[in-house]
Amino acid sequence: MHLAYPAVLAALLFCTGLYGVLARRNAILVLMSVELMLNAVNLNLVAFDVWLRDALHAGQALTLFTIAIAAAEIGIGLAIVLMVYRNRGTSDVDRLRDTAEGHEPHPINAGDSTGTARPEVAA
């Protein structure tokens, strides 16, 4: 099999994921796109490992590790998104602009105790 097939597929999938990361508004969809990018890299790793017939199978081992790390990442990432959602009532990436120039601190976020009450109010 030509190496070009998996390589091109991986490149295309990576760029698709890239587009998703840059264009999606919902944080969870962004995380999905990140998963796509990770998978594209995994595909590359496997393809090159198979091609090179590496004695240690470093590519496959790294793929496994990447998968495990991706699992951890998605867990933490979702937890963070959930917390942001609880505090802010939204998980839209482009509405989290605390670092913007001239941004006033979020009035609700200013108090340390009222954060949890917000989702109930929104509901």
Binding site: H2, P6, F14, A23, R24, I28, Q60, L82, M83
Partner: protein
Amino acid sequence: MTPAATLAAAATTGPGFLSPTGVEIAFLLVGLATFGAALVTVTTKQLVHAALWLVVALGGIAVEYLLLTAEFIAWVQVLIYLGSVVVLLLFGLMLTKAPIGRSPDADSGNRRVALGVAVVAAVALVWVVVDAFRTTWIDLDGPVQGSTKVSGEMLFQHWVLPFEALSVLLLAALIGAIVLSRRNDPADASDKGQR
């Protein structure tokens, strides 16, 4: 160099693109399906549908692993990605009260820039990759490379230490996720408020 000479040079390492093998045809078809599913994932207006199309894309990738003889990884992919990650994502969508049905604002205002960057990156990557690997041939017929046995030997002979380190990382991530997503007790919060 004439096209014929290029073909001749390619023939030294493997067959040309004009006479694909069966595996190649299967890879190509599954690859197209995967790519299409991925495209739908990042463009659909329905959030839950995006997660479901992601399943298709990840499953396609698992098939590609199989076609590349990386058997064990394919099953790991199915187990972890399809089995847990997507489920987690669906839970996440649910918990953040993602709207069911078409949501017109699924894409941010950054879409045009994102499209430009992605297309340019894709063109550049594909160009470079094709330029570099157009004559490289993977010989899939040798000794099996990705079976469970091979992967197990490889992992527990050469990669034991990283593997164990990874388990610690996973534990840390587990605890971190629990701590982060634990909802503070309202009574506790009011205590803090009074203090």
